[in-house]
Amino acid sequence: MMSQLPSSQFWLTRPFGERATQVFLGVLFTALLVVTVLHVALPQGSPLHVNAYTVNLFGKYLSYALLAVAVDLVWGYLGILSLGHGAFFAIGGYAMGMYLMRQIGDRGTYGHPVLPDFMVFLNWESLPWYWQGFDMAWFAFAMVLLAPGMLALVFGFLAFRSRVTGVYLSIITQALTFALMLAFFRNEMGFGGNNGLTDFRELLGFNLRSNDTRLGLFLATGVALALGYILCRAIVTSKLGRVCVATRDAEARTRFIGYRVERFQLFVFVVSAMLAGLAGALYVPQVGIINPSEFSPLFSIEIVLWVALGGRATLYGAVIGAILVNYAKTIFTGVMPDAWLFALGAMFVLVTVLLPKGVAGLLRKRRRAVESDNAGTKEAIA
């Protein structure tokens, strides 16, 4: 699966030596630059002008792409089909949302200095303990990673230790996100129930209702995606990554060789959950609301489709898949809303039956075909 790599290099910088990573980063940064230039430099009337709405939309796609990368890390390289990654995404989002709520301060409709509006009118007397500290950016940002990380750690520890694998694991991850969805829907939980958290004003002092902040968030998401991608690439190309792949392909055998499989699984699972949390945290200020529907099992399964469509175990495929599906969703629900679920359902079926390697597989096949073609011509010339 993995190509031979120089082992002397430091593991984190190793991905920069790979061609796929170089191309990916090149494309990503070019895209970021182009969108920025078209948005900032061109006047609004110009046909090539990218307006704030579109920038915002792209920012959302990029945060989905980061989420897809996180899912691909566990599914592609560890063989764990998590149907509950939406939960980590949502928890990261809620952590960010709580910070943004606290930033509103006394500018809410009731003007309460501490309590968010929904707590005032549902008669909360004081801030619950788990809301403490979220007024500080560093704490909130740490929780964006730590809260999903902790959940993944506890859940993963229990699951991997008792060797719950395969379909069973998929089903209980689904149950996990379903249980969390029910819990967050409860108003007693203190997360705003079905209405969730909304009416955000500013992030680190930047007004969230200004187009420049939107551009900034778009770029920040792009950079986070690049960093997340490099981190994942570094993990999968390291020794640890190879043990992971070995686990995916033959868990029992790897265990018998002497690897403590569950530790590797746990580590990668937690990293993936944190990345999902980060994606959620970047998503929330861009869409302006976080509510329990992000926990819905349907959403989590949809993420897996992005990865499957793009091509499992490639990472860049996940990014392609996330952007493609979500773009298609934007188009379809705009043009023919009734057809969207048909299209989505058909995608699930066709991708798994006809395109098991996804778009990335197609790309690779093409490249290989071109290469062998070239080789053939060279030989012919020689």
């Binding site: 089909l81 229990l158 699951a159 230790r161 008792s162 060797r163 719950v164 395969g166 379909v167 069973y168 998929s170 089903i171 209980i172 689904q174 149950a175 996990l176 379903f178 249980a179 029910l182 819990a183 829907f185 409860r186 099992p297 399964i301 897996v304 489709l305 499957a308 009734d338 679920l341 048909f342 989505l344 359902g345 058909a346 995608m347 699930f348 079926v349 991708v351 798994t352 039956v353 098991p356």
Partner: protein, 536 residues
């Protein structure tokens, strides 16, 4: 609860009826002018005047009186633009068939625009219901008398005592007699009379308990003590009844879970195929029931029974189509199967939305499945759920028979345990796959038929059950039908026991978390499969 009745009015009614019964005078039905006058009096603005008009109708000798009152109660007594009083026979749609209120002759259809309803309010409605009930006490129809007697509990006062005591002497049916004397006793107990309290001792009826607790707070200490003792004596009995009720609720919820999960236990447990479209197969079963009821209007019961084979067939055929078109290509790749069948579930849902309607469909509960089976005054069990519980057990027993006693069952078990070996023994594995999947899907269809009697029939029906049913199968132990039965029933009971204490949402969350933790402890469920099959 107390109803707002004018006792004077009731007594007048009673008196009038008694006189009527005694005099045996046949009313003059041809006297339509007088009848029209009676009805005219109803069409006034003041509800008080309407109340008096109702009394007047009751006291008239007209034998159509009960029909008029019933029509008035149902809102079907209306007045056309030309002043004619009509009874609406069927008020669905925009054009309504009507009949003349006086002659009962059908008058064809009339538009809503041309009709004005004779309006009543809730006070009048209660007055009408009580009046009809009192009239019915003298009815030759036993059922009507029983319902009336039941309604009189807690409604008797001093003026009604005499006529009711007279009725008790004349009444032949012991149940009606018992109810009437209870009604009298309730009145007596509320007055603080020892005779009443003694008569009510041991009664579980809520009205009796209300009367006793009123007596317990009365001034007469002797009577109050007696009332308290009477209340305490049924306390234990009530608790047991409550416990039985909760258990029944739990088993009933459990039976729904078992029905939803048992088809899955076959496709997932026995074949190892993850079918996320299982819920949608249930949905198709439910829609089949709706379709059957559309095909057989007016016979919801027959339609429901016919839906059992029909629902099975429809779901099984769709299941076979899914197996042939998708699942067979994904053999041995369970995670991919999961994704593909999830896609199919989305397509099926949207198909139903587009072809039939995004709105829920009306499925009628047949008469014999409505209401409750009354065990005693404090415990009654709902019949529809009892039918579903029984149905679940029958389906389970049927499946067990198929798996244990038939050739198909033997072949299925053989193919599951060792596909290659089974094939070399001459078993056509592909055929077995198709049949097994058809069986599992068909059972999902049966579950849908049952669910149509309990919940909404709509495109989302399946989605609401899919996670629960997977949980049941995994909790019970994959590949074990007994495990599914035990898991489903016990999860249902746990849920219902927790619910009053924790609330519906929290109960559900607790059950989910419990299962997640349980799987960590015993990854193969309650009844793990043993031997070779377990390694698959």
């Amino acid at each position: 609860m107390r109803r707002f009745l004018s006792w004077g009015f009731l007594c007048a009614v009673l008196l009038g009826i008694t006189l009527n019964v005694q005099a045996q005078t046949g009313p003059d039905t041809s006297d339509n002018d007088a009848a029209l006058e009676l009805l005219e009096a109803l069409d006034v603005d003041s509800y008080r005047d309407k109340g008096e008009a109702i009394t007047a109708i009751l006291q008239s000798d007209d034998e159509r009186a009960r029909d008029w009152l019933q029509a008035l109660l149902d809102g079907r007594l209306q007045r056309a633009d030309d002043g004619q009083f009509v009874v609406v026979l069927d008020n669905s749609g925009r054009e309504w068939p009507v009949a003349d209120a006086l002659t009962n002759e059908p008058l064809g259809e009339m538009s809503r625009r041309d009709l004005d309803r004779v309006g009543i309010n809730n006070a009048l409605r209660n007055q009408l219901r009580s009046a009809i009930a009192v009239v019915d006490l003298y009815s030759p129809n036993l059922d009507r008398r029983r319902i009336s007697a039941e309604r009189l509990l807690g409604e008797v006062d001093g003026e009604l005592l005499e006529p009711i005591n007279a009725l008790i002497l004349e009444e032949k049916d012991s149940q009606v007699r018992y109810r009437l004397s209870q009604a009298v006793a309730i009145y007596r107990a509320e007055q603080g009379e020892m005779a009443g309290i003694e008569a009510l001792t041991g009664s579980l009826h809520p009205r009796a308990r209300v009367a006793l607790s009123r007596a317990a707070n009365g001034d007469d200490t002797v009577a109050a003590d007696a009332a308290r003792a009477a209340l305490a004596s049924v306390e234990q009995n009530l608790k047991i009844n409550r416990g039985v009720e909760t258990l029944y609720f739990g088993l009933s919820l459990g039976s729904v879970l078992v029905l939803a999960a048992i088809g899955l236990a076959i496709t997932f447990g026995v074949m190892g195929v993850i079918n996320m479209a299982h819920g949608e197969l249930m949905m198709l079963g439910a829609y089949t029931t709706w379709m059957m009821q559309q095909l057989l209007p007016g016979q919801p019961g027959l339609a429901l029974i016919l839906s059992i084979p029909a629902g099975f067939l429809v779901a099984a055929l769709v299941g076979v189509a899914i197996e042939r078109s998708v699942i067979q290509f994904l053999k041995g790749r369970p995670l991919e199967t999961l994704l593909a069948t999830f896609g199919i579930s989305l397509i099926l849902q949207q198909l139903v939305r587009t072809v039939i309607s995004p709105l829920n469909r009306t499925v009628i509960t047949p008469e014999w499945m409505s209401g409750s089976l009354i065990i005693n005054d404090a415990l009654s069990l709902t019949i529809n759920r009892m039918v579903v519980l029984g149905f679940a057990l029958v389906v389970f027993a049927g499946l067990m028979l198929i798996m244990r006693r038939t050739r198909l069952g033997l072949e299925v078990r053989a193919v599951t345990q060792n596909r290659a070996m089974a094939r070399s023994m001459g078993i056509r594995a592909t055929r077995v796959d198709i049949l097994t999947f058809a069986l599992g899907s068909g059972v999902a269809g049966l579950a849908g038929v049952a669910l149509s009697q309990l919940t909404n029939v709509g495109p989302n029906l399946g989605q609401n059950y899919i996670i629960d049913s997977f949980m049941v199968v995994v909790f019970g132990g994959v590949g074990n039908l007994w495990g599914t039965l035990v898991a489903g029933l016990s999860l249902g009971v746990i849920n219902q026991v927790l619910e009053p204490w924790a609330g519906a949402v929290l109960a559900k969350i607790i059950v989910l978390v419990f299962i997640i933790l349980f799987i960590q402890k015993r990854p193969r469920g309650l009844f793990p499969q043993k031997g070779r099959a377990a390694e698959g």
